[in-house]
Amino acid sequence: MSEKEELIAIIGDANVSDAPEALEAYSKDESFVRQMKPQFVARPRNVDEVQEIVKWANRAGMPLIPVSSGPPHFRGDTIPALGGVIVDLRRMNRILRIDRRNRVAMVEPGVTFSDLKPEIEKQGMRLMIPLAPRVAKSVIASYLEREPILVPKCHWDMSDPLCCTEVVFGKGDLFRTGAAAGPGTLEEQRKSGQAQKNPLGPSQSDLFRVIQGAQGTLGIVTWATIRLELLPSIQELFMVGCENVNEIIDFVSWIQRLKLGDECLLLDRLNLASILEQDSESIEKLSAELPPYLLIYVVAGYDRFPEERVDYQSKDMKEVAQRHGVHPVTALAGVNSTKLLKALSEPCHEPYWKLRYRGNSADIFFLTTLDRSPEFIKVMHEAANETGFPATSIGVYIQPIQQGRSCHVEFNLAFDSTSKAERARAGVTFDRASKALMNQGAFFSRPYGTWPEMIRNQYAENVIALRKIKKIFDPNDVMNPGKLFF
C-alpha cells in the first residue's frame, strides 16, 4: 500500500488530502519561518484514529504535525519543518462536558473559543481567554501554548487554566494526565464525585506540563479539561492612561497583590486602537487620540451581592490608585468602554486585530517581572530605531500573569507582508530586537521559530534535559521534528 492508502485505511478517503491547495495552505504561515510543504493532510475524528496515525507514522518514519486551530497561524509551529503529515484535529470538535458544579469543561482540540463561549455562558460560567483570540483559535491549543489569560487572579500556576488531558505520545501510547488518569474510567470517576479537575499527576510526574509548550513535539492531545470561572453579572471597566508604563507598574503590582479586579492588562495606543477599530485609517485616527499606554482593568460582580462587590473593589482600588498617584477613569475619549469590554470577553471578529493595521504582525513575546517591563520597552524601541522600524507600528501588550508574580510582554510589529522591503525590515527588526531582549534578560519561555536557536546556548542544560524527554516520549522523532530544540 502506498502511504496515502495506509492513511486512508485508518481515517477514510474523505479525510486524507494531498491536494496542492491544501498542502500549500499548511506550508507557510504569517511568520518568517521557512516554508515547507507537507505530504498529506489527515483529519482524524477520534482518539483511536489518532493513535493509529501515530503508530503508522512510527512505522513509516513520517513526521506528524498536529494542528488544532484554523488559520491564520503566526508561530511557525504548524509548518512542517521536514515535511510529513499535518494532523488536522478540527474534526475533533466536540464539547464533551460542561460541569457547572465543579467549574470545569471537557473539550476536544477542534473546539474554538467561539464554539465554546456561548455554551459555557448558558451555564452561568465563562472561559478564561487570551487577548482577543482569533475566531478559529482552538481552546486546547491556546492553553497548551501557555497563552496568557486576561484575569491574573485566576492564573494560579503557569499551566492554568489547563487541567487534565488525554494525550497520544510519540509511539502511539495513550495516556491521561491529572486526576483523569484514574483509577477508574471517566464514568467511574464521576460516580465518585470527580470531574477531572485536578491537573496534577498521576503519581510523580505532571506530564501535562511537559506537553504544554511542546509545540506538538511530544504528543497529540485528544481532549482536555479546562478550568472555568463564574460569569459576571455586572462589570465595570476602568482605564488609566499614561505616557510611560513606569507610571502605572506599581499600581498594577498592588492590585494584583490584593487580588482586586478581574481582567487587568496594559496596551499601548496602537494595540488598543487595533482591537477597537477595523481598518488602518480608523486605527491611526484613534491611536492619535489615545494616551501612549493604557492600563485596563475590570471589576466584576457575580451572583452574590454583585453591586456591593463592584462597589467595594472599585473603592479599594481607587484608594490604592491614589497612593500611587494614578487616576483611573471609566470613560476615556475615543474609547467605547462597552465595546472594549466586549472585545476583552470574546474572540476577535474578523479581520483578526493584529492584521488590521498593516496586514501582518511579527510578534515578539517573553516573560519577565512587572517591575522590569518598562526597560524592555526601551530595548525594543532602541532595536527598532537601529533598523528604522517605525515606532508607531509597534504595538505593546503587557499581561500580568501568575497573580502578578510575572508578566507576559509582547511587541507586535505591524508590517505589510506584501511589501518585500517592509517584510525584510520587519524580519531584521524581529531578529535584532529578540536578541537584544534576550540579552537583557527576557525569558523566551515559548520559543517559536528562530528563538530556540537563539536561546539554545543560554539554556544549554535545559536543552540537554529536554532532549532526554523527547527521547522518552517520541523516540522515533515523529512528532513535529525540527521544532523547538529537537
Partner: protein
C-alpha cells in the same frame, strides 16, 4: 557493609571532616523514624554515612562521587518520616540542614528563594516583615518549604487563598542524579526566579507530579515559591500566657469560626458556595476528635470525648477564616458568608466563639504549630489515608468511605476511636480543588495495633482503587513498596513512563530506587 575508606575520604574532602559521620551513634539517631514505619520506630536500614553539604557545589561533588562509585544517595531536609531514609543498603544520606538560607524575598514580585532547610515558620516571619505571607502545609510550619514544593505533596488549609506548594513553585535549581545542575524556567539563563516553566516544555512536570519524587530523582538545592499579601503587622506579638502562645492583639479584618452543618452534604454545598464566591483565607473541615485534641489532652480529652459534647456540636463542621485587606472587603465577605450559611443551614459553633478560643484559633490558623497534638500525642502512631485531590464531591466521598472503613478497625480495637470520621478536608484556590485525608491514630509500639493500622491503610488503598477515589496519599509512606505495581496498570501505565524518566535522568541508578521508581520492571502484586 560500610563505606569504602577511600570513598569516605572523598566525601570528607568535599564537606569537611566535621560534616560527615559514619559513627554508629549518629547513624542510629537518623534511624529513629516513627512516621510511616509499619512497626515501632526504628528503620530497618541504616545509611552508611550522613553527609552535610553546605552548597550546591558540594551536593554536585557528592552526587558525582556516588555516580562514579555506584553509591545510592538520598537527600533530606527536616527529615520527618521514614521516607527520608534511603530504602536500600549501602546508601549515603545527605542531611541538608546546613543549606538553610532564605536567599531572597522579592517584595515587589512576591516570591521568596529558599534553600532546603528553611522551614515555613522562618520564611513566614521574614516575609511578614515585608508585608507578605507564605503557604504552610497542614503538617505544620516546622516543615521545609522547599521539600514540600519540590518533593512531597503541598496541601495546607490556607490553600483556599494561598494555593498548593507544588503549584506555588517558580524557578528551581535541581542537581540531577548524575550531578549535573539543571535550572528550571527563567533561572536557566539566570534571568530570575519568577518562572519555573520552559523554555518550551516544562521540566517541572518531570521533577514532580501530584506527589514529588521523595528524594528519588536528585537533589533540589534552591527554589522560589510564591508569597502572598499579608494584611497584618510586620511582627506578631504573642502573649506569654499559658497554656498557649496566642496573639496579643486580634488582627484587623480577621474572623475565624467553626461552622457546624446539619449534614455532610450541606457542609459540601457550603464549601462549594464559599469557594466560588471567592471569599475566605482558610478553610478546613475539622472533626470532633481533631478539635478536641487541639484543646486538651489526657483524661480531660477522654472525659470530653465520652461526654459526646464535641461529637454533637461539631459532627459536620469546618473552620473557616475571613482575613480581608480592607474594612469594605471584610464587610462584603461576611455578608456573603452569612448568606451562604443561611442557605446551607450552617451555624457558628459556640466552641469557637469564646475569647480564648478565638485567640487560640487565630494563632493556630496563622502559625500551624500544633498539629502534632491532634496526630501523634494520643496514641503515638499516626498515619493518613485517601487524599487524592479533585473536587469537593470527591472529598466528601473520601470521608464517607474512610469513616465507614475505620469503624471496622475501631470495633476491632486496633486503632484509636476518634469517631471514625476523623478527617481533614481542604479546599484550594478558591474552591477549584479539594481533597480529604482520613486520619488514623494507633499505638505503633503495639504489634497488634500497628498491624491493624496498616491493614486499614492497605484496605483504604484498595477502596481508592475499587471505588475510583483517586490514588491514595498513603502511598506517601509506602513509596516504592509495590504501590506503582497496583496503580500503574490502572492509571495508563504511568509507572512505565516514570521508569523511562528514571533511566534517562539516573542512568547509574544512584538515587534511591524505593523513593521514585526502581529501574526494574513492574512488581506484580
Amino acid at each position: 557493609m560500610s563505606l569504602d575508606k577511600k570513598v569516605y575520604k572523598s566525601f570528607e574532602s568535599v564537606v569537611g571532616p566535621e560534616n560527615i559521620s559514619d559513627a554508629p551513634a549518629v547513624l542510629r539517631s537518623y534511624m529513629y523514624q516513627p512516621f510511616g514505619n509499619n512497626k515501632g520506630v526504628w528503620a530497618d536500614i541504616s545509611p552508611e554515612a550522613v553527609l552535610m553539604p553546605a552548597s550546591t557545589e558540594e551536593v554536585v561533588a557528592i552526587a558525582k562521587i556516588c555516580n562514579r562509585h555506584h553509591i545510592v544517595f538520598k537527600a533530606m531536609s527536616t527529615g520527618w518520616g521514614i521516607h527520608n531514609l534511603p530504602g536500600v543498603e549501602g546508601a549515603v544520606l545527605m542531611d541538608l540542614r546546613r543549606m538553610n538560607r532564605i536567599l531572597e524575598i522579592d517584595e515587589k514580585n512576591m516570591f521568596a528563594v529558599v534553600e532546603p532547610h528553611v522551614i515555613c515558620m522562618q520564611l513566614q516571619v521574614e516575609a511578614m516583615k515585608k508585608g507578605l505571607n507564605c503557604h504552610i502545609i497542614g503538617a505544620g510550619s516546622n516543615t521545609s518549604v522547599l521539600a514540600s514544593a519540590t518533593s512531597v505533596a503541598g496541601y495546607g488549609p490556607d490553600g483556599l487563598s494561598m494555593g498548593h506548594s507544588g503549584r506555588n513553585l517558580l524557578g528551581v535549581e535541581w542537581v540531577l542524579p548524575t550531578g549535573e545542575v539543571l535550572k528550571l524556567g527563567s533561572l536557566g539563563a539566570d534571568a530570575g526566579w519568577f518562572c519555573g516553566d520552559g523554555p518550551g516544555p516544562s521540566m517541572r512536570g518531570i521533577m514532580r507530579g501530584w506527589e514529588g519524587a521523595w528524594g528519588g530523582l536528585g537533589v533540589f538545592t534552591k527554589c522560589a515559591v510564591k508569597l502572598f499579601h499579608w494584611n497584618g503587622p510586620s511582627e506578631l506579638e504573642m502573649k506569654n500566657a499559658p497554656p498557649n502562645y496566642v496573639l496579643k492583639e486580634p488582627l484587623q479584618f480577621f474572623k475565624a469560626s467553626l461552622f457546624s452543618f446539619p449534614s455532610l452534604d450541606q457542609l459540601a454545598e457550603a464549601a462549594y458556595k464559599l469557594g466560588e464566591s471567592e471569599i475566605g483565607y482558610f478553610i478546613c473541615r475539622l472533626t470532633p476528635a481533631f478539635v478536641g485534641l487541639q484543646m486538651t489532652s489526657g483524661k480531660n480529652y477522654v472525659d470530653m470525648w465520652q461526654s459526646g459534647m464535641m461529637q454533637q456540636v461539631l459532627k459536620y463542621g469546618f473552620l473557616f477564616v475571613i482575613f480581608a485587606n480592607s474594612e469594605r472587603e471584610f464587610d462584603y465577605q461576611q455578608k456573603v458568608l452569612a448568606q451562604i450559611l443561611e442557605e446551607t443551614g450552617g451555624q457558628a459553633s459556640p466552641i469557637s466563639e469564646t475569647k480564648e478560643m478565638q485567640e487560640q484559633i487565630a494563632t493556630t490558623v496563622l502559625k500551624v504549630d500544633a498539629v502534632v497534638r491532634s496526630c501523634f500525642r494520643s496514641a503515638g502512631g499516626f498515619n493518613t489515608s485517601f487524599g487524592a485531590m479533585d473536587t469537593v464531591d470527591l472529598a466528601i466521598n473520601q470521608i464517607k468511605a474512610g469513616a465507614g472503613l475505620k469503624e471496622k478497625y475501631i470495633k476491632r480495637g486496633v486503632i484509636m476511636d476518634d469517631g471514625g470520621d476523623n478527617s481533614a478536608t481542604l479546599l484550594f484556590e478558591q474552591g477549584h480543588l479539594a481533597y480529604t485525608e482520613v486520619l488514623v491514630m494507633y499505638d505503633h509500639h503495639d504489634g497488634e495495633s500497628a498491624q491493624g493500622a496498616f491493614e486499614y491503610l492497605a484496605e483504604s488503598n484498595e477502596i481508592c482503587l475499587k471505588q475510583g477515589l483517586g490514588p491514595p496519599i498513603f502511598q506517601i509512606s509506602q513509596v516504592g513498596m509495590g504501590k506503582h505495581g497496583v496503580f500503574g496498570p490502572v492509571c495508563f501505565n504511568y509507572d512505565a513512563w516514570l521508569r523511562e524518566i528514571k533511566k534517562e535522568l539516573d542512568p547509574n541508578n544512584v538515587c534511591d530506587p524505593t523513593a521514585y521508581i526502581s529501574p526494574e520492571e513492574r512488581e506484580r502484586e
